[in-house]
C-alpha cells in the first residue's frame, strides 16, 4: 500500500492506483473528459492535471494515469492548476462553443467566455471533441478495431478505415454509448434489421427474460453479445461477484431412453401480413394478438400500458376477430379461443384507458363455463360489438387524422349498414395454426397429421390423446386449437394414460408378429437386412434366422420378401390373405 497526501488529506491506496482514483477515494473531485473506467486512461484532454510535489520539485502531471508514489503531496486545486484548466477549457470552448459537456465543465471551472475565437469553430451541439473514447472502447473493450484517428494536428479527426462502413463493425453501439457529445448516432435501418421498439428480442446482450421467468436468472443472447463476436468485452464477468458467468457453456445434446413420449409442441399464430387488407406490418398501430398481449403484460416493452407507437394513449381501439380463421383462403377451421381473449382485451383496454372500443365478430363463440356471463358484462361496459367481417383497415385521410390515425371499414350485417370508423389502434385476433416445423416433428415421432395440419389423434372421440403409434401421445394445441381449460384437461388425461403404463411395468403388444418356421428356413438371410427395427438376427449354430418378438412391430415386409415363405406372421399369414382374396372375389 502507498500513503500520500492529496490537498493535505492523508490517503492510503494500493500500489499502482492512479492519483485520480486515490482522490476519488478521498472524496476530492477532479474534472475529467477523456477518462472512462472502461479502458486504459488516454490522458489527452489534460483537464485532470494536478501538481505532484515531491520535496521541493513540483511537476504538473495528468492524474488519470500518473501512478501514486510514496509520500508525494498532490495539489488538485492550486492556482497553477486552476489557471491550466481554465485555459484548456477556453481553448475547447473557442472551438466547440455549444457542446454541452464542454460548457458544463467550463462553468464548473469558472470560465464564461474564451479570450479568443477558433478558426476551426464548430457550432454543432454534438460536435466531435476528439476525446478518443470511441476509439479506445472499440479497440480495447469490443476489440473490433474499427475506429481510429486520421490526419495530424489541427486536422485530426475520427475516421473509419478508408472512410467506408467497415464489415468489422458489429453494430454493438458501444461507441455511440460512450460518446460524451452524442456525435455518433445509431442509424436504425442497419441495426441488423431489428425494429427497435418492438424487438421481441432482448434490450441488452445479457438480460433477465421476464420477472416471472423460471428460473429468474440472467441469460446471454449470443447474437448480440460482443464476446461471441470478437472475443472481447467480458465486462459482465468482471462485475459479477460470484463470477457465475462461464462463456464456455454450450448447448449439449443428451440422449435419454424413454418408454413414452408426450408431444405437446404447441402452435404458431397466423402471420396477418398475409392478409394485406388489414395493414399488419405496413401500417403503424396495427398489432397482432401476441404483440398486444405483450403490450398488456406488465413486464412487456410498455410495462402494461396501452400506448400507440408514438407513446400516446389511444382514444379508440378496434378488435377484429377471425383473422385467418374460418377463411377458405387460409384456415377453414375456427381457432376456438379468439372470441374469448378478444373480450378479455376489450375488458382490459376499458380498464386501463378511456378509449372507446369496437369489437368486430362473425359469431361470438362464448361457449365455455362462465364465458357467456363475461360476454354480457362486456356488453354492459358499453363496448360497441359489431357483427361483420372487417373489409379493410386503411390510413386515415388527413382530414380525419385528429379523430384517429386509422380507419376501419366494415359492414354491420345486423344493421345492414356500411361503417367507416376512425380508430387509433387495431388489434387483430390471429388464427392458431400448426407449427411451421410440424411436418419434421411428425416424421420424427412417425405420427400422422389431420387435414388442418395438427397432429392426428388415434380416435377423435374415444382416444384424443394417443396416436397411431404406441407410446407416443399428443396434448394441447399441437392436436388442435383449444383454450387453457381444455389443454389442461387433455394434458392430464395423457399424463394419466402414460402413468398407467409406467405403473403396470409391462407393455401389452399386439399379437401381430412375424416368426420363422425354422424347418423351411434356408438361412439365406435376405430378411435380416430388411427389418427397419433389426428384429431379425441369424443364429450361426442353427444356420437359421430368428425373429426377436419384442422388437418386431409386425409390418410383414419380411414375410412378403421371404423366398421360401419360411417367414410368416400371426394374423397375416399368406393363407389368411389368400383366403380373404378368395372370399371377396366371389
Amino acid at each position: 500500500m502507498v500513503t500520500l497526501k492529496i490537498d493535505d488529506k492523508q490517503v492510503q491506496v494500493p500500489e499502482d492506483t492512479s492519483i485520480l482514483k486515490a482522490a476519488e477515494k478521498a472524496g476530492i473531485w477532479i474534472p475529467t473528459l477523456c477518462y472512462s473506467e472502461l479502458f486504459e486512461p488516454y490522458g489527452v484532454c489534460r483537464l485532470c492535471v494536478v501538481e505532484a510535489v515531491r520535496g521541493k520539485r513540483s511537476r504538473v502531471v495528468t492524474s488519470c494515469n500518473y501512478p501514486v508514489r510514496e509520500g508525494i503531496n498532490v495539489l488538485t486545486n492550486s492556482p497553477k492548476i486552476q489557471w491550466i484548466r481554465k485555459t484548456i477549457l477556453e481553448l475547447m470552448l473557442a472551438r466547440w462553443p455549444n457542446v454541452k459537456v464542454v460548457k458544463d465543465l467550463a462553468r464548473d471551472v469558472g470560465v464564461e467566455k474564451p479570450r479568443f475565437v477558433s478558426l476551426q469553430r464548430d457550432e454543432a451541439e454534438d460536435a466531435c471533441i476528439l476525446c478518443g473514447k470511441c476509439v479506445s472502447v472499440c479497440r480495447e473493450v469490443v476489440q473490433a478495431n474499427v475506429l481510429g484517428f486520421a490526419y495530424r494536428g489541427i486536422k485530426r479527426e475520427i475516421a473509419l478505415p478508408f472512410g467506408v462502413q467497415s464489415e468489422a463493425c458489429i453494430v454493438c453501439g458501444a461507441c455511440a454509448h460512450v460518446c460524451p457529445t452524442g456525435h455518433i448516432k445509431m442509424v436504425v435501418e442497419d441495426y441488423k434489421g431489428k425494429k427497435p421498439e418492438f424487438t421481441l428480442g432482448p434490450k441488452t446482450a445479457i438480460y433477465v427474460p421476464t420477472l416471472q421467468a423460471v428460473p429468474r436468472v440472467p441469460v446471454i443472447d449470443a447474437d448480440s453479445c460482443i464476446h461471441f463476436k470478437t472475443g472481447g468485452c467480458e465486462y459482465c464477468a468482471k462485475v459479477c461477484e460470484p463470477n457465475a458467468i462461464n462463456f464456455g457453456m454450450k448447448d449439449e445434446v443428451e440422449e435419454i431412453e424413454v418408454g413414452q413420449i408426450l408431444v405437446a409442441t404447441g402452435f404458431d399464430i397466423f402471420d396477418a401480413s398475409a392478409m394485406a387488407q388489414y395493414g399488419y406490418g405496413t401500417l403503424d398501430n396495427v398489432y397482432s394478438s401476441l404483440e398486444f398481449e405483450m403490450m398488456l403484460n406488465s413486464t412487456g416493452p410498455t410495462n402494461g400500458q396501452v400506448l400507440t407507437k408514438d407513446g400516446r394513449e389511444p382514444r379508440s381501439v378496434a378488435i377484429v376477430h377471425c383473422i385467418g380463421s374460418r377463411d377458405t383462403n387460409h384456415h377453414s377451421y375456427c381457432s376456438r379461443v379468439c372470441c374469448m381473449y378478444a373480450l378479455k382485451y376489450a375488458h382490459l383496454v376499458h380498464d386501463r384507458t378511456k378509449a372507446s372500443i369496437y369489437q368486430f365478430y362473425i359469431d361470438m363463440r362464448a361457449f365455455g363455463k362462465g364465458y357467456e356471463e363475461f360476454y354480457v358484462r362486456i356488453l354492459d361496459k358499453g363496448v360497441k360489438v359489431i357483427r361483420g367481417k372487417v373489409a379493410e383497415v386503411v390510413e386515415a385521410p388527413p382530414a380525419q387524422k385528429d379523430e384517429g390515425s386509422l380507419v376501419v371499414r366494415c359492414e354491420d350485417t345486423l344493421a345492414g349498414k356500411l361503417l367507416e370508423i376512425p380508430v387509433d389502434m387495431v388489434v387483430l385476433c390471429n388464427a392458431i395454426e400448426a407449427r411451421r416445423d410440424s411436418d419434421a416433428v411428425r416424421r420424427l415421432f412417425s405420427i400422422s397429421k389431420s387435414p388442418d395440419g395438427f397432429f392426428l389423434e388415434r380416435h377423435p372421440k374415444l382416444d384424443p390423446t394417443s396416436t397411431m403409434t404406441d407410446g407416443v401421445y399428443i396434448a394441447g394445441c399441437a392436436q388442435g386449437p383449444k383454450d387453457i381449460p381444455d389443454v389442461v384437461a387433455q394434458a392430464s388425461s395423457a399424463a394419466a394414460r402414460m402413468l398407467s403404463f409406467i405403473s403396470k411395468g409391462e407393455v401389452e403388444i399386439d399379437p401381430v408378429r412375424a416368426f420363422v418356421q425354422e424347418e423351411y428356413c434356408s438361412g439365406c438371410k435376405i430378411c435380416n437386412s430388411l427389418c427397419p427395427y433389426t428384429a431379425i438376427e441369424f443364429l450361426a449354430e442353427k444356420k437359421v434366422s430368428h425373429v426377436n418378438e419384442a422388437l418386431c412391430k409386425g409390418c410383414g415386409t419380411c414375410v412378403a420378401a421371404c423366398p421360401s415363405s419360411a417367414m410368416t406372421g400371426h394374423g397375416f399369414t399368406d393363407a389368411q390373405i389368400l383366403a380373404e382374396l378368395d372370399g371377396i372375389m366371389v
Partner: protein
Amino acid sequence: MAFEPKIIGFLCNWCSYTGADLAGVSRIKSAPNVRVIRTMCSGRVDPSFILKAFQIGADGVIVMGCHLGDCHYQEGNYKTIRRIPFLKRLVKGFGIDPRRLRLEWVSASEGDRFARIVNEFTEEIRSLGPLKLQVHTELRKTIHEPVEVV
C-alpha cells in the same frame, strides 16, 4: 348389363385404410368396385397375392400405402415402391396390361384423394374392359386347406 370391373385394393392399415375410412366418415361418394384387403403395411403385399388376384378374376389391382417418409414402420413403402414396378413388367409377360396394376400413396387425411383415385382407376379399368386370362381351371380354385399354425 355394363361391364362392372372387379378391382382388388391392398390398403395399408395406418394411412390409406384410415384415409378410406375418413372418406367414408366424410360421406364422400366413390365407386364401389374396389374390394379392399387391409395389411399392416404396404410392404406386406406379396407380389404373389397380386398375381393370385389376377388369376382368380380381378380386372385391376391397386396397392395403396403411406407417403414416403410417413410409413409407420419407417421403410415399408420403400420396399413396395421397388416391388410394384418390377411386377408391372412381369405381368406384361402374362398378357396383362400393366395399367391394370397401380400404386398410389394416400395419407390418413386424404379422404377426398382416395375417392378420386378409386373413381379414376375404376374408369380406367372399365375402359380396358374385362381381363380374359386363359387360366387352367384347376388353378382357378384357391387352396383352401389351412396350414397348422405352430
